[in-house]
Every structure is written in C-alpha cells, then in structure tokens.
C-alpha cells in the first residue's frame, strides 16, 4: 500500500509461499548455513546457498545414465532346465509378455523399467547442467516438467528387488545363476536415488522462471 513496497520491496517485507502446503511465510535475509523452514509443514523453503548440490545431481545423473547401458545389455539371470538354457535381459520379459498377448503389460514394463528411467535421468542431467553452467539452453522448462511428471515412475529400485525375488522363485523350477546385469541395475537404482536427493527442484523452478 505505502511507497515502501511499491516497486522493489526489501526481502524482509516480502511474503513467500511454501511449495508444499502453500502457507504464506515472511521472507528474510538468511545467514550462511541457515534455512527458512515452513512453520506449518516443516518443508525447507529457502536456503542461503540455493542449488549448491546441483553439480552433484548432474554427476550422479550422468553416472546413472552410464550404468544404465550395461544394466540393459547384460543378462539379469541365466535359467536352465535339462540342458537347455536361456539368458534373461530386461527386454526379454517385455517380449515374453508381448508374445503371450499381454501387450499392455509389456508396454507398462517397457515404459517403467527402460523408457522412464532414461528420460528421467536425461532431463535431470539437462536441467542441472543448465544451472551448473548458468546457461539458458532451449527446452529447459519442458525438461523440468518431464522431471516432475516422471517422479512417481522411478521404479528401478523396485525392479532390482524383483530380480532378487525372481532368482529365489525360479530355483524351484530349475537352475538359476546370478549374472552381473542385476548388479548394474542395483547400481543404477542407487545412483538415481542419490541424483534425486541432490536435485534442488525449487531452485531449478526459479531458474526456469527467470527469477533466480
């Protein structure tokens, strides 16, 4: 209302919104290593050094992308009955479901175990690379929206556990042997979780909007 906050209000007079519960909070200047937390839900709303872990997120996402290649190329397990044996990759299961007439299930497994991790890691590394290099590359907003949309589809850790359970289950049917493929999947899952931990989404959102 007054002349004070008409054009450029000092940060002590501004209100900011908690991204999680939309409560209005009084903004203020932060000391180093200080955080502004929401009083209602406890979410960290603002930190003195936004995006400090963004470079680590980039590194973890790139590492996960690299381990995703051997995870998809190497067999998860080798199953053998009476002399004939078979190597199982992630894609073999998709093919099996597709052949048996369960195309939707095959598509679902393909999407959530192969396509979604690749897209998710690509967009996380793209956005965090943009922030780390401070470059405004095209399609940054689209990549950030993709990160948000694929958030519930991070199913690689689940797939890694399913591999272990299936080894146990197949032991009753024949001979099963562990293969390095499942270890690569586990490595990718761990690296993906680290990348998610380090990825500062609030900071990326502000950067994409151009507020900084």
């Amino acid at each position: 209302m007054s002349a004070l906050n008409s054009s450029a209000p000092p940060s002590d007079l501004r209100w900011i919104q908690c991204p999680r519960c939309h409560a209005s909070l009084r903004d203020r200047q932060l000391q180093p290593h200080e955080f502004l937390c929401c009083g209602r839900c406890g979410e960290q709303v603002k930190s003195a050094h936004p995006g400090r872990t963004m470079m680590a997120a980039w590194a973890f996402a790139m590492a996960a992308l690299i381990t995703l290649i051997p995870a998809n190329m190497n067999p998860i397990l080798i199953f053998s009955v009476a002399g004939s044996y078979q190597e199982n990759l992630i894609i073999t299961g998709v093919e099996g479901l597709w052949m048996q007439g369960f195309q939707p299930l095959g598509a679902l497994v393909f999407f959530s175990a192969i396509l979604a991790p690749v897209l998710y890691l690509l967009s996380v590394s793209y956005v965090s690379a943009c922030w780390t290099l401070q470059m405004r590359l095209p399609f940054m907003g689209a990549a950030l929206r993709l990160v948000e949309a694929l958030e519930p589809w991070n199913l690689l850790p689940v797939f890694a556990i399913a591999c272990m359970v299936s080894v146990v289950k197949l032991r009753t049917l024949g001979t099963v042997s562990w293969e390095p493929g499942s270890l690569w999947i586990l490595a990718t899952a761990v690296l993906t979780m680290l990348a998610i931990q380090c990825f500062d989404r609030k900071c990326a959102e502000l950067y994409v909007e151009g507020v900084k």
Binding site: C18, R20, C21, H22, A23, R40, C41, I76, L77, F79, V81, A82, S84, Q86, N88, T92, G93, V94, E95, G96, L97, M99, Q100, F102, P104, L105, G106, L108, V109, S112, A113, E151, P152, W153, N154, L155, V158, F159, I161, A162, C163, M164, V165, S166, V168, K169, L170, R171, T172, L173, G174
Partner: protein, 166 residues
C-alpha cells in the same frame, strides 16, 4: 487443472482402484507349468508358495509389497479424500500423504516379477510361465493408486473448498 478437478479425479481413480482390487486379488496372475504339472497362482498364492518353500523373508517382502501396500494405500487414500475440505488432523494427513508417495511404487514388484518369470516361458514344455488376466487388473489397479496419490497435491489438504454456488 483446478484444485476441485484434481480432487474429483483423485476420488474417481480411488473408487476405480477399490473396484479393481477385487479381481486383481481373486483372479490368477500366472500359470506355472513344470514337467507336466499345471498350477494357477493368484497374488496371495504366489506368496504362500514362497512361504512353503521355506523362504520366509522373501515371502514377507513380496507379501508386504503386493498385498499390504495396495490395501494400506486404498484405505489411507479414501481417508484423505473423505476429510478433504475439513480441518481435522491436517498435519497428520500431510505425513500420511508423504508416506503414500514413498511406498506407492513398491506394489509394482509383482508386475516386474511376472515379466522376469514370463521370459522363462520361452523355454518350451519343460518349464513355462504364462501370464493371466489377473495381472492386467493388478497393474491397472496399481496405476490408478499411483495417479490418485500424485493428482491430489498436499497443499489441497489446507485449502478450503469453493462454495457450492460458484
């Protein structure tokens, strides 16, 4: 999408998931053939089989992920949605929602397990695993609960609904 649309969509998805929960748990998920013996297994049957072979920890993991998680999700989603717009235990609802999104994906373990087992089916008559209709219902049920939790945003717990006249 406004908050009201999100609420309605979440409600519809939850109801759909509750309906799908029944065929998903009572229809067989897969048929296993070992040297001539044919066996149809439901979700619960798969857990019982693991338990019978003496692998209790693995059976517990699969039981938690594919039977308990969907049930807990459906109950807490309907609790969250039934309290929408009221101001009862709002901070507890925030915690429940965070918990929901964390455990939500684990139910997919059954679908992945099936996809790995089905690959064995290509070995022919000696041992084969065939997917059944129940798996389809199960997968759709899981997707419904995933989306219902994702569409209902946490800030909507705190916002009061619009008056009916608008």
């Amino acid at each position: 999408m406004t908050a009201h649309h999100r609420y309605e969509l979440s409600k519809a998805l939850t109801v759909a998931a509750i309906i799908l929960y029944i065929p998903a748990n009572f229809l067989p998920v897969m048929t296993i053939t070992i040297t001539g013996q044919v066996e149809s297994l439901t979700v619960m049957g798969g857990v019982m089989e693991l338990y019978d072979t003496g692998l209790v920890p693995v059976a517990v993991v699969v039981f938690l992920a594919s039977v308990v998680v969907p049930a807990v999700k459906l109950v807490s989603l309907s609790w969250l949605l039934s309290l929408h717009g009221s101001d009862i235990s709002q901070s507890r609802r925030m915690k429940v929602h965070a918990f929901l999104t964390r455990i939500g994906t684990w139910a997919m373990i059954d679908v992945f397990l099936l996809s790995i087992l089905v690959a064995v089916g290509q070995l022919g008559i000696l041992a084969s695993v065939q997917a059944e209709v129940g798996a389809l219902f199960f997968a759709v049920m899981i997707i419904c609960t995933l989306y219902a939790a994702d569409v209902y945003k946490t800030h909507m717990i705190w916002r009061h609904p619009l008056p009916k006249s608008q």
